[in-house]
Symmetry: C2
Subunit: 250 residues, 2 copies
């Protein structure tokens, strides 16, 4: 396709609607800007109107909401292939911020150009619609995670989700993957304290379910882990084909 670095997005969307590379052509025609942002950069400012659509090509980002009391909640994690904000394309200010967790490279398109691309191709529109559905579904699952699971379960469940999503984007092939989240980020994401995250992680290690070393996580027994966390990948709306170690044609 026109822009080879769109790969993660392509990998993701094709899981749903079996797009060919040509289906991406309408996107390639536009002035798509590839940007690099350092770790910690603010990608979307709270309250600012959203005039662009972004697609993450590489790196991790997060949607955050700051609280009065100094606390913070990370609403969700955005990985390569994720788009934002498909929903916020209306002239209402963003009610949350988006920040880079690692150095990030992303595509930026004008909102109107993106809409034109969508309108020009039903298949493309369907694929992005699916992406939006999946995103919302991930939000719902985050709600379940926070509302009805213990600290250790939350962590296990999150790890399984991230692993699957990285798979989908073609980033993580095996059971182990790069993991840039600090204890503090995990805490703000999972509604826990950093200390408790540390303890819960240790517990999972002691249970023989995971291994953590130097910025990488290894899911030793995904079956047991899913059992323990109550993880069912159904909410990601992906076909059964992708369920195990080898995603796509990897």
């Amino acid at each position: 396709m026109g822009a080879p670095a769109v790969k993660p997005l392509f990998a993701r969307l094709r899981h749903y609607s079996h797009l060919t590379e040509e289906d991406f052509a309408p996107l390639a025609r536009f002035e798509i800007e590839l940007t690099q942002k350092p770790k910690g950069a603010v990608l979307i400012e709270v309250g600012a109107p959203v005039r662009h659509v972004f697609v993450i090509v590489q790196g991790w980002a997060m949607r955050t909401r700051a609280l009065d009391d100094g606390g913070r909640q990370i609403v969700n994690i955005m990985l390569p292939g994720d788009c934002f904000d498909l929903q916020a394309m209306i002239d209402t200010g963003a009610d949350h911020g988006v920040e880079a967790i690692t150095p990030v490279s992303l595509y930026r398109m004008q909102r109107d150009e993106f809409l034109n691309a969508i309108r020009s191709s039903g298949r493309l529109a369907t694929a992005f619609w699916w992406a939006a559905i999946q995103e919302e579904s991930i939000l719902r699952e985050q709600i379940v995670r926070l509302g009805r699971r213990s600290g250790r379960q939350r962590i296990a469940h999150l790890l399984l989700e991230l692993h699957r999503r990285l798979n989908l984007a073609g980033v993580a092939q095996s059971a182990s993957f790069d993991f840039p989240l600090t204890r503090e980020l995990l805490a703000d994401l999972l509604g826990l304290s950093p200390v408790h995250v540390s303890r819960s992680l240790s517990a999972l290690k002691r249970m023989g379910l995971i291994r953590v070393s130097d910025g990488a996580v290894n899911l030793l027994d995904r079956r047991k882990l899913a059992d323990f966390a109550g993880f069912d990948a159904g909410y990601l709306h992906i076909g059964e084909a992708v369920s195990s170690a080898n995603p796509g044609q990897a």
Copy 2:
């Protein structure tokens, strides 16, 4: 307008895009079915494909997810004027169920007819897009509520949100409103136990912030309540005009 009972939806949408009654005409032309469902009825079955779009006219409903261990998480509450599932209009099975909390009356349209209506009117499309954005925003706020607030704060915050949303739909005019949620439902919604909900509610009463009596809630001091809960209505994406006691032209 053609169908007077669409009022709550109309009241909501007009807050965003200032629709006139004529803008609703495309909807009136279709075969819109008005259904009544009793309390407890299942409106959307888990795993079933979603072929219709629903709009709640009267009553409360909830999106739920059942857990392996017998637990349950209520993902969100749906009030008069709310639509579902705008997102699930793709042939993927629903990953959650929708149930009536009170007796509910709702409109049901064929998915395709709805899409036609949307396509025929940019203003209508924009309005529904706004509804979808608001819904997702409410989900995000639920995440913050569960992740970073105490039991009492969660309850206070929820009450304020529901009050605002009922206002938007033109259902609750004053500071007091009908409240059909049992302690158990509140618990499953807020990630608490029914017992703790009961205690937390008592605490809020003792603090002089609310009054609860016989299926109705009265927000005695919304200012203090919002302060206590960290409630900021920004995420509902409504104009400042609706902020205080008198919503719309009430």
